[in-house]
Amino acid sequence: MDLMYFAELAMNGALVGLMYALVALGIVLVFKSSGVANLAQGALAMVGAYVVWWLADPLGAPLWAAVVVGILIMFFFGRAFERLALRRMIGQPVIMVIMLTLGTEILLRGSAPALWGAQMKRMDIGIGQQPIVLGDMLINRAYLAGGVVAVVLIGLAMLFFNSRQGVMLRAVSDDQTASWAVGISVERAIGVSWGLAGIAAACAGILWGSVQGVDWTLSLLLIKALAVAILGGLDSIGGVVIAGVAVGILENVIPGYIDPLVGGGTRDLVASTVILLTMLVRPFGLFGREDIERV
């Protein structure tokens, strides 16, 4: 088949993958510092989108202000969640923590539409709908913007993790007791990482909300984000970018060639297959640390 077809599928897929990676970033940030897999990250993204919409539309704030304030609110929302719920779960078996985040997901999925209405909302962040044309290739403007924002944010996250504060967060993820012993406030560090996860969620929510509208289905981004996070390695921020691009391309290219043959949408299978294959071959992901508990 022609190269441009492949290139277009791959390009748009990669950009979409980066937008998944932004959701996955939240999962990774939290897992990296506290070893908790936050299965409510999709719901956090949904709340973020609702909050920004609420600030911009019913409250009438200018868009930039809504975005900034929304991001701030989500930062504190993430911290509050850690403080109120997860801190009590220290020492509980992993299934309890997983279930807690799933329960929270249900809670948020009910609360946000109850507060703001279940009907889909419009989120216009001023990205035009005309595509960018590169030869025979069309690139979706919204995805391009989303991909760029995702790369920038993930890059910022990487920079942050190399700063002094970031080194301390990494230290916490290495050894919480030792971190305590050298004066790092572990609770605060984990709280900060949840706050950062809230920020990632807000950004992902805004981008995805502008693409698909704001309603509870934003929380379904979770499974794609999980695939990305698992493939990249649950504790690797850089891995999220690579894995995001990889999952995005696979998800777009494989159906592009296989769907016409089998006559059905194979796209949903890609994320699940990626997760399973990763588990079989490299459970710790492409760039994750290898010290996960193996049987």
Binding site: R164, R170, D174, Q176, T177, S179, W180, A181, V182, G183
Partner: protein, 260 residues
């Protein structure tokens, strides 16, 4: 500087680990805490640094005073800010961080960047070996280097009291000597040291005072020299009673006197 008065620690609200422990470390002093496995040495240190919490331990009685202030209810990071540094047993460096980052991780109490740079240079001054391995992950360092890194990391706190839990564990004898030499050096530079050791001989050589803890209780204390001369210590901790013909000796004849 540090005084423990009648401290009692209970784990999980049921398990009594230490009881009635009283320890004094004077400003710039060097005190050794000796004892067998499970005697309660590490628990005592954790009671001082506050690290009992993650293990669900609790100081249920007694007081922990540092420079006259009761610290028993402060969080570990707050105690660190007062100048209590705890080098954990088994080194516990941040394995996925480089030595440099390990040091930086321990600077949360400092605001001044120049001060941090100075401190780092000072640590590299004590441990020139670390500077050679600057960019490898700490997990790949040798045991001795990791121990140095752990001590160096604690020094970034600018501690008034440095507590070390078994710094000689699993190290070759020449490395033990090297590390103990550095400890003496530090002590001379004014850092108070509380040293927990099984290697009693090495510890008593450099310490000025020593406590002996057994079954969660302090059973003997005094100047290091005095303890060294004690026949019980000699036999049970220093192994200096000389070779004995165990066929000839009724080896149960000698009991620890304090158990009577």
């Amino acid at each position: 500087m540090l005084s423990l008065g009648n401290v009692e620690v209970v784990y999980d609200r049921v398990f009594l680990a230490v009881k009635g422990v009283s320890i004094e470390v004077s400003e710039g002093g060097m005190v050794a805490l000796l004892g067998a496995n499970g005697a309660g040495k590490s628990t005592t240190l954790k009671a001082i640094s506050g690290l009992l919490m993650p293990e669900r331990g609790e100081v249920t009685r007694g007081e922990v005073r540092f420079n006259g202030r009761d610290v028993a209810h402060l969080s570990p990071p707050e105690r660190v800010r007062l100048g209590i540094a705890h080098v954990l047993e088994g080194r516990r460096v941040f394995e996925h961080l480089t030595p440099d980052e390990n040091l930086i991780a321990a600077t949360s109490m400092h605001r001044d960047r120049r001060r941090i740079a100075e401190l780092r240079e000072k640590v590299y001054g004590y441990f020139p070996r670390l500077k050679e391995r600057l960019s490898t992950k700490a997990g790949y360092l040798s045991g001795g280097e990791q121990q140095m890194l752990a001590i160096g990391r604690a020094l970034m706190i600018e501690p008034k009291l440095l507590m070390l839990d078994e710094p000689s564990l699993g190290l070759a004898p020449y490395l033990v000597d090297e590390i103990f030499a550095i400890l003496e050096q530090l002590n001379r530079d004014g850092v108070g040291i509380l040293l927990v050791e099984q290697n009693a001989a090495a510890a008593l050589d450099i310490a000025s005072d020593a406590y002996l803890i057994e079954n969660g209780r302090i059973v003997m204390s005094g100047a290091a020299g005095t303890l060294k001369e004690n026949p019980d210590i000699q036999e049970f901790y220093l192994g200096r009673a000389g070779r004995k013909d165990y066929h000839a000796v009724k080896h149960y004849r000698r009991r620890k006197r304090w158990l009577a």
